[in-house]
């Protein structure tokens, strides 16, 4: 069995002392930032990118992915105990999880979240191992037109599944694409958008952009209104589930896992959408929908499984196609590129140790999280008492050191400040910065595939619709756009994201 050989290879890589250490470090950091509100995985991964440059690519990716799925765990702990979701994907967990805690079932809610996440993580890792290689094989047959259409579909889909105005989000993507094109043109070496600054000859720095938009601007936004957090943590008694509770969570966990695994693959999907979708489904099919909002254990089990499954399977398009489905994956691609690895279908065959090592580490990491989280809950809750005005200067320090150490270049520090201001302005204008980051990463690839496609078709743009796979991908993109712009859908979308 090839699959088992591959998994054995993966585990041999992931179980090396060094990689176990970085996996542990990743999930620990992930849990930490998941617990702390006001510090998300995007900003953290951006801050830690420079530190990973010195690591081998496998260790770097193992640690960064640990941060991402670790954050999903950490976010749910605080959501349940003090009704304060550390991550956007845990917002729905807080609804019923905190009610359970008030009813004296905090331990059961935490155990449900941990078990559901672990189960979902295991299944999703397995799905990743089974489906990623054939998908990569398929992608190897893609020519430039198919890649171009696939990226267009990815970008469009990421917009339609996100919240907020669709037109603005598309504009943000286009702006990101333009910023991504800065630097030397790949074919002719002509400098573009460099404003005659020699520092811009390689384009805007990816780390500076990510840290400015997500680190610096986030801090300014959090400082707008600093209210006291009322911290009344629920007491955790027993972590054991009753037999009846155990029976009640089986269905939601299975459904949440399936739903999250599917939504995670879609561009723009991932953890947050999965948890929202799972909650509304559980509420709809429940025989006792009135219990939801009053401490229904299904409302914890479903979303928690779904967000973890979604977080794992969103690695599939990143690892097999080299296309990011959300901003975190865009950062991972950035990390790979900086490590000198071109993300794409070739990674599976050319770097099997990297590919399978990361997959195996995810399962190990999920296992660590269960062991790590339940006994350490007291510590995490105490961490929350660290006030924000103590925390943010430390984040500033990390951002400054991080961005400077990439190239030892002060220009990058200034561009981080500039992107911080731009990011803050855009947020104030209701323009979400996440699509911009996607565009920034995809920009150079999109242009390259467009130019290659036009070269092979001798300048005929019809090539995108006469090649069947490309035509289907573009049709899907158009369909997604049309659907989301329909007035009736727009209304329900607004409601869905308000909930």
């Amino acid at each position: 069995m090839e699959l088992f050989d591959n998994l054995a290879l993966g585990f041999s890589v992931a179980l090396s002392f060094q990689n176990l250490f970085y996996c542990f470090l990743g999930v620990l950091l992930g849990t930490l930032i998941g617990v702390l509100p006001g510090l998300g995985p995007i900003a953290t991964i951006a801050m830690l990118l420079p530190i990973t440059f010195g690591l081998p690519p496998v260790s770097a990716l193992i640690m960064l992915s640990g941060i991402y799925y670790g954050a999903q765990y950490g976010g749910s702990t605080t959501a349940i105990l003090i009704n304060l979701p550390g991550e956007s994907s845990s917002v729905v967990t807080a609804i019923d999880g905190h009610q359970m805690a008030k009813n004296g079932r905090a331990g059961a809610a935490l155990a449900t979240a941990a078990l559901g996440s672990f189960f979902a993580g295991t299944v999703a890792t397995f799905l990743l191992a089974v489906f990623a290689p054939p998908l990569a094989d398929l992608a190897l047959q893609f020519g430039p037109p198919e890649y171009f259409s696939l990226m267009v579909l990815g970008l469009v889909a990421s917009v339609t599944l996100a919240s907020g105005s669709v037109v603005k989000a598309i504009a943000m993507i286009v702006l990101g694409l333009l910023l991504g094109l800065s630097g030397q043109d790949i074919y002719t070496g002509t400098p573009r958008f460099t404003f005659d600054l020699p520092e811009l000859s390689d384009g805007f720095d990816f780390v500076a952009l990510a840290m400015g938009m997500f680190g610096i601007s986030e801090i300014i936004r959090n400082l707008e209104d600093e209210h006291e957090r009322s911290l009344v943590a629920a007491k955790v008694k027993s972590l054991m589930l009753t037999k009846e509770e155990f029976k009640r969570i089986i269905g939601p966990v299975l459904r949440g896992t399936a739903l999250g695994s599917f939504l995670g693959i879609l561009p723009g999907g991932g953890a947050m959408l999965s948890s929202f979708a799972s909650y509304s489904i559980e509420k709809k099919i429940s025989k006792t929908p009135r219990e939801f909002g009053r401490g229904a254990i299904e409302g914890v089990a479903g979303p928690e499984s779904a967000n973890n499954a979604g977080a794992q399977t969103s690695f599939i398009p990143m690892l097999t196609l080299g296309i990011p489905s959300n901003p975190v994956m865009a950062l991972m691609i950035g990390a790979l590129i900086i490590q000198g690895i071109t993300p794409g279908p070739n990674v599976v065959t050319e770097k099997p140790d990297l590919f399978w090592g990361v997959i195996a580490s995810m399962w190990i990491g999920n296992f660590m999280l269960v062991l790590l989280n339940l006994p350490l809950i007291g510590l995490w809750v105490r961490l929350l008492t660290v006030p924000y005005h103590v925390m943010f200067p430390a984040i500033i320090a990390f951002c400054c050191i991080g961005v400077y150490s990439v190239n030892n270049n002060t220009f990058d520090v200034y561009s981080m400040a500039l992107f911080g201001v731009l990011g803050y302005a855009l947020v104030k204008l209701d323009c979400e910065p996440a699509p911009l980051l996607l565009g920034f990463v995809i920009g150079p690839m999109l242009e390259e595939y467009l130019r290659r496609a036009m070269l092979i078709s001798r300048g005929d743009p019809m090539v995108f619709v006469t090649r069947p796979i490309s035509a289907i991908l573009l049709m899907l993109a158009v369909a997604a756009l049309v659907v989301v712009l329909l007035p009736s859908v727009q209304k329900t979308r607004e409601e869905a994201f308000k909930e």
Binding site: P393, I396, C400, Y404, K428, R458
Partner: protein
């Protein structure tokens, strides 16, 4: 009734239009090439045009449909944070890594309304020590501790 119904949309539309114009103007010096062999200016100009079109749509929507003013901007925090970051960039070479970091951290703490001299000093000391231990000793980043202005090299 004001002409501007949704200031957020009007402003974002204008911002997109300005940026589109800026990028389009920058592509003027670039060779366009042909559709078969696209030059370096082709795709950027296409995108700049698209951004301008989208900006126009957002702008028109902002004039047609009502919305809210942008909520209160934290000018003080914005100014202080940006200053502390820019200061770090300016000072890291002449003053050296640790002094620049210490001053930046301390200044950034001023951004909070809950600024407290003792806490801020403590954070500054802790972060400086931490940065020295992790980045200089641990990771061995080649950063000069003291710059020429402070007698370093």
């Amino acid at each position: 009734m004001h002409i501007i119904r949704n200031p957020r949309d009007v402003l974002s539309g204008l911002l997109f239009l300005v940026l589109a114009a800026l990028f389009a103007w920058q592509t003027q010096e670039l060779p366009m090439g042909t559709t078969v062999r696209m030059g370096p200016g082709f795709f950027p100009l296409l995108l700049a045009g698209l951004l301008g079109l989208l900006g126009l749509i957002v702008l028109v929507n902002g004039l047609r449909f009502p919305g809210e003013m942008p909520s209160g901007i934290a000018w003080w925090a914005l100014g202080v944070i940006v200053f502390s970051v820019v200061f770090f960039g300016f000072a890291v070479r002449p003053l050296g890594f640790l002094p620049a970091l210490a001053i930046s951290v301390f200044v950034s703490a001023l951004a909070s309304r809950k600024f407290h001299l003792v806490t801020a000093t403590a954070i500054t000391a802790a972060m400086t020590l931490f940065a020295w231990a992790v980045f200089i000793k641990g990771l061995g980043l080649p950063l000069p501790l003291l710059g020429p202005w402070l007698g370093g090299y």
